[in-house]
Point group: C3
Chain length 681, copies 3
Amino acid sequence: MTTTVDPGHVPDLTGPAPRFRQAGLAFGCDWNPEQWDRATWREDARLMREAGVDLVAVNVFGWSQLEPRPGHYQFDDLDAVMDLMAEAGVRVNLGTGTASTPPWLTTRHPEVLPVAIDGTTRWPGGRQAWCPSSPVYRERSLALVEAVADRYAQHPALALWHVSNELGCHNALCWCDVSARAFRRWLADRYGDVETLNDAWGTSFWSQRYGDFSEVLPPRATVSTRNPGQVLDFHRFGSDELLGQLQAETAVLRARSDVPVTTNFMVTDHIRNLDYWSWAPHVDVVANDHYLDQRLADPTTELAFCADLTRGLAGGEPWLLMEHSTGAVNWQPVNLAKGPGEMVRNSLTHVARGADAVCFFQWRASRQGAEKFHSALVPHAGTDSRQWRDVVDLGATLDRLDEVAGSRVVADVALVFGWEAWWAADGDNRPSTAVHYRAQVLDAYRALRAQGVTVDVVSPADSLEGYRLAVVPSLYLVSDVDAAHLDDFVRRGGTALVTFWSGIADERDAVRLGGYPGAYRDLLGVRVEEFAPVLPGATLTLDDGSHARLWSERSTVLDAQVLARFADGPSAGEAALTRREVGPGRAWYLATSLDEDAWADLAARLCADAGVTTDPDLASAGVERVVRAGQGATWTFYINHGATDVTVPAEGLELVTDTVVADQLLVPARAVRVLREETAR
Amino acid sequence: MTTTVDPGHVPDLTGPAPRFRQAGLAFGCDWNPEQWDRATWREDARLMREAGVDLVAVNVFGWSQLEPRPGHYQFDDLDAVMDLMAEAGVRVNLGTGTASTPPWLTTRHPEVLPVAIDGTTRWPGGRQAWCPSSPVYRERSLALVEAVADRYAQHPALALWHVSNELGCHNALCWCDVSARAFRRWLADRYGDVETLNDAWGTSFWSQRYGDFSEVLPPRATVSTRNPGQVLDFHRFGSDELLGQLQAETAVLRARSDVPVTTNFMVTDHIRNLDYWSWAPHVDVVANDHYLDQRLADPTTELAFCADLTRGLAGGEPWLLMEHSTGAVNWQPVNLAKGPGEMVRNSLTHVARGADAVCFFQWRASRQGAEKFHSALVPHAGTDSRQWRDVVDLGATLDRLDEVAGSRVVADVALVFGWEAWWAADGDNRPSTAVHYRAQVLDAYRALRAQGVTVDVVSPADSLEGYRLAVVPSLYLVSDVDAAHLDDFVRRGGTALVTFWSGIADERDAVRLGGYPGAYRDLLGVRVEEFAPVLPGATLTLDDGSHARLWSERSTVLDAQVLARFADGPSAGEAALTRREVGPGRAWYLATSLDEDAWADLAARLCADAGVTTDPDLASAGVERVVRAGQGATWTFYINHGATDVTVPAEGLELVTDTVVADQLLVPARAVRVLREETAR
Amino acid sequence: MTTTVDPGHVPDLTGPAPRFRQAGLAFGCDWNPEQWDRATWREDARLMREAGVDLVAVNVFGWSQLEPRPGHYQFDDLDAVMDLMAEAGVRVNLGTGTASTPPWLTTRHPEVLPVAIDGTTRWPGGRQAWCPSSPVYRERSLALVEAVADRYAQHPALALWHVSNELGCHNALCWCDVSARAFRRWLADRYGDVETLNDAWGTSFWSQRYGDFSEVLPPRATVSTRNPGQVLDFHRFGSDELLGQLQAETAVLRARSDVPVTTNFMVTDHIRNLDYWSWAPHVDVVANDHYLDQRLADPTTELAFCADLTRGLAGGEPWLLMEHSTGAVNWQPVNLAKGPGEMVRNSLTHVARGADAVCFFQWRASRQGAEKFHSALVPHAGTDSRQWRDVVDLGATLDRLDEVAGSRVVADVALVFGWEAWWAADGDNRPSTAVHYRAQVLDAYRALRAQGVTVDVVSPADSLEGYRLAVVPSLYLVSDVDAAHLDDFVRRGGTALVTFWSGIADERDAVRLGGYPGAYRDLLGVRVEEFAPVLPGATLTLDDGSHARLWSERSTVLDAQVLARFADGPSAGEAALTRREVGPGRAWYLATSLDEDAWADLAARLCADAGVTTDPDLASAGVERVVRAGQGATWTFYINHGATDVTVPAEGLELVTDTVVADQLLVPARAVRVLREETAR
């Protein structure tokens, strides 16, 4: 047997953070060989080569195999797997194996188990059954990371470290006593003294004033509404605790290896407990898991949004799609199969929007366990199947797109998005629980996408430098510093749109007084006195004939042009859409939740006002167009989601079919085409 | 600094209970100065004078400010507040401050925390996180009341004591071990020996027979349906425990002060755990909090009903509207703003129905905390706002209505309502969970209101003396003694309507045998053999063409005239509406849940039968008409809920506009007019 | 007082299990005399004779009466009840009294209380508040059974032992620590060593590998999806633990008595935790409780299915309907009364399908307790009621049908049903949570019933010998051995239909690889590559114009005739219905969930293919026709569910009306007729 460790190598740990490098686009998957026998492993390696798979994540859930008894490590199987991959020329994205604890750990230390908001324990039997603040978990998991890093840091197959897995997917918020102590420490660090905490949380309300940090608890279940400042800080704390685990594992790895480190984010609609803006600087390369969410009205738009947001987290740099699916997932109420070409369209939408790796969960569909009905590269039916043949085709296509790797997406429009705003905006006891932050964001994004516009999704802390148009949907919570970026942007000549329920609260969730939308009131020239939401299902009509839902407001327009007013509803006669010229710039305000058509129309007007090029005809034909630019060339992705062929004027080399295009590019129904055009370097 | 305590004064505590007196209608609000700085306090006092605010509730949630450490009191801020109010001429409704515990109390004594039905603890972070039976809470809260009473009993600003706040809003039922012990004591007091308890609860069913009180527990979560007698007594116990807190605080206050004592009831649709019929005798003046509940089909009818019920609790005397809102609340799923004139209509509906005070939660909208999006007199936008201007107008209007204070509402019709009946009627495993007691009551009330009839809402224990018509909707549980009042009423010449699901059970929730509706069977001359509810959404037709829902019955008519029969459904051919002449009186029975039109028609027939004057045309024009009568004058309130002006024949002085009316009074759309007519003294 | 025990008698306990014998059809009920005074008992005995009641269940919930203090038994009341029944000639079905614990037991031993999945305790106050694995409960309950058996084994009224009551109705699954220990023992017995357990549960997934049985827990609440193998085995364990209680009580009884022993099963839609296939061999006669479930779309079909399944449990022998209702129950959201004739139709449907006893819950409607609004033979209104008169009529009718007792139902068609398949098929994280096993089974059953076909519901372990047609709906989990029965059946000339989501997993819930439906793939000649469920509400069209819902598939037809393809939806063009000839037999496969009409049409085609006689016209006229055959005669039941009279050609003696029929039998609307025809012996 080949030994996989070279104890003589000393990694260079003094320079800048290592970067993940690859020759082209990576194609890969999670591989869980522990579920199969060794004969299957050999077959797997052969099939990986057949499909062109060149990056596999292993050992993601390896703990109970690697450490079957406390402190007793058993690496034989993983050694064999690593050697097999090295031999097969497949690079390994090596899991630290800490994602889920072995049964012996929680049997010996039940205090590791997470506790729900009502004080009841959550038990083993699934995954991630550990409290993020548990010192026992931290100690034992780092010991495992050390063992794994010591063993494989120099293995030739190793290409990337994969810390844990989907950190916080299930256990992001823990209400146990261990977490309570950690929360108090976190608060003491943040606020210094208890009076500052009292001010931040507004504890003079409802007799909540603390005399000492020792009196503070996590926001456990109450008989009435919880303190919103406490809830907000508990979200911050929860995100930070898991970031702490990421950093701790990373430190162990970096002390032993110069291979880059990542973890798979979950930038997606139904995961909201991690503030990835604060996490992104701590990985060497941003990686994301994304699954179509068929519970949403428009899963494909959400996919595009998440890809753009992931690119935002990567600072515009290429990123890795670490997981998506060849077909159905297993965890939605009804798990739809993918239609013809849908897997390719999904994969290449991610690539178009900045991904340099296309990976899947998982290699071979499990026979047992909670995910056995999750699709895979090798389905239960085996390789004599359409799914496998589609996978082989995708591998070949990605090979032909290798030259795209390293290039950057081109966008003129910024959409501001933040997790802290999400936590606060969707809190308890707000004007309308029918208004959801994320849905408002997606409405805005969809309207821009319907204009054929590519959007960068940026942090509230972004300077907005270089954009023509900035859209700020329902950014309920924003700091003064961050709000000032928008002001500067407009005063420098930018065009901005702010929508209702923005700028209301500062970072403590304290309302800005004097009229909404506090942080943006002066910029917009509108002072809102009173919110007047309407019931879900009710329709509002504006005096330009367009329709809206959910929200209206009663305001005074201080200094802006009123472009539309409410024609009916509880705010009839009040301003619904305004525009203010601010030096060379323009500040628009939307006081309601437009329906899809009206939003698209507004997006068109904004783009026109900002000088942003649109292509609504192509978009309405179902074709998504995104451009990546590199040294000396651009690559334009045409993703045809529709059922009819579309022809676009084009000149260059089409990479998917390897065809020279002279003036017209045919994008067949449901297909993707990628046009390379040479540019001056 | 002015000292606020006059230790030389000895209150007269030997006479009758003190009464709350005021020159006219009070106008006020909760004021929480602890959330603001002192500069704001001075501004607040100035604005209160501007708006005519003359009664403010302070220190409602003062505990953690007043007693920041155990036993260490700190009165500086409250002294200043009281002095400021005295100086400003604003009377103070002084909270005992016990509504919510400070964090140190539950940190030191976690056994104070309430426990939910499944045995999980409910934690601090909201409000009212205390077990009503906790001796620790009782002792510490009374110590606070003593300190507050000692300090402010003689303060010139003090007008009223405000015990706790919305007692039982969140913590009315607690399943903890402390509550279990208290429940056993309460049961031993009620039943004396365990065999009497066994009989009362019917424990021969399902092997539940107790050998000793020590075996009894609160009705915690079970794997199957709980014993209904146990559940009913647990409701009684819960109400009594909180009444005990009210009485204990009151005793402390009365030992130190002759200022009247109240607490704010919550007579409203979604609060049902307190039997205010048993509470009302223990306050010096009845006060209520009422908020429009937009989750209901008809919030305005519910408002009127609650005002009438609150007047019933006050025995027909004037009462205080302690809280309502200028605009939206924050705790409903969608919190609707009020429309033009709606705040005034709401306020004056309460006054028309007996309120002598119009108060709001709260003075100044909070910046932080769980209620920051609750409307206020001073909104987040400040005083340059329509809301503030409307508040100032309302203050002026109330000043012009001062003469109404002390007068009594005139009504010929009684509607019987009881909390014990509510608890039992809506219990588990009943014929139809789609039938809700409160909805049945509101249906009857709405039908009478649609006839322009003013209704007194009275207790099942009321003698009904002096009324022409008594309506008893779905009074499932009633004692023999209380049921006899209706019998006497009819035999004395009254007209009564009883509706289905009435008189079924006695006060132990034991079914009366021999045919439903047991307690009223002989009076009505109808013997029901079997209930036949129908599914929600199904429509029943009667043979007079009217429609009904939810319920039908199979009966034998022993001695009554059948006015309508079921034409379809599971009881086709059976009696749906009957009328029996009983000496000079009349006893009607309704065996189903009529739809709105049929109910209105039935109400008209009942009023005609009883000689009650109606005005359905005015009502259907959207105008609510209520008369208050005093010494030498009556005041007729016209509240126009509609969008069109209405003219009524009238002669007298209209107080809102201060206009002499000769023969026609114009009540503009959405407005209120109050006509004073002189009468013989 | 008559002593009821004959200590001189020694039961014969060495022979075969005793059988329950009776002269004709039994008519009876639960009787709870402990809820009434002795005067009422005498009246009850008189009324039982009037109605012809000849079998009553007593002492079902007697524990707290019989053993008011630990170890102190008090039999006076039960002695009197037994003697009264002996005197009245009413046979007693004597409860062991263990169904619900007395309060003193759980007060002294709170560890007896069951614990919910989230770790919270379930408390006394309802019924069945005991952990099935509790050794304390086992010991104390058996002591009671001993005392009852010693006292009454020789009582002349004793006809049947009634162990406990509806075992597992509420407490089938308990997650407490006591259960955890018992679960570990059960697993050690089943698997021997922990590696076998690891393989069975697939613990290499998500780092769940156990090092020792001591690490295993029940599948308590987790933050993510639980291990499906663990959940499945926990279902098996829960069923076995309660079966253990049945066996333990039975052993006590058999050691003391040769009277047959039963317990009342709950073969019904909403109870699924007991695998009655494994229970049935352990009772001397199968008994069932069945209540119409008005929450279902078609409660009457479900009644017929349950009767057929109960007969299947009895191996085709007569069985006892131990409980049903004269009218409404009390535990559904809306508890519908029965319509004219419905009670008789329900009762005789059970008799038609093999019941030799028609019993009810309960004799006299309770005044108190959780079931006081459950209908009874003597309603709250008393005996001057239609319900009582109907009961008396039913008693007389049953007397006229006595000769039916002992005969067997005739059926050519088998429908395969299993509880293990139910548990696994409806588990978490499956392709579609909108597909429910039981609903799929009922769809198939309804289609056959609509052809007028009588069906035997059989176990997956049944050989299918003697049937012409076998239907296997969505039998997700099946062992290889059981699957082979269907193969043999077809190869011997039978006709089989398998529907989608069948044969997927083996008994460990491990997916069979190589293509679905694994266990039946070769037999059917179809290899499914991918599931493609559709959302509830969506309609699928097949190319024969029929419609379907919920499910489609993408497959390769290896060796079968395609009878219909999907015309639209995610599997357009794929096979929806296939038929393969296998030697003399035929194997059909249905790849979707047909709507009602299409299912009926398919059933007709299957019956034709299998040579099964149908009578769809009679069925569509609303008449259910079932034949019981005995020595020398057959009895054909005609149950007219419709509102019009139906005439059928017939010759024989009609028993309900005691009328000789020459050539035409009139079955009036809503009525039942039973025709005896002589046959050769």
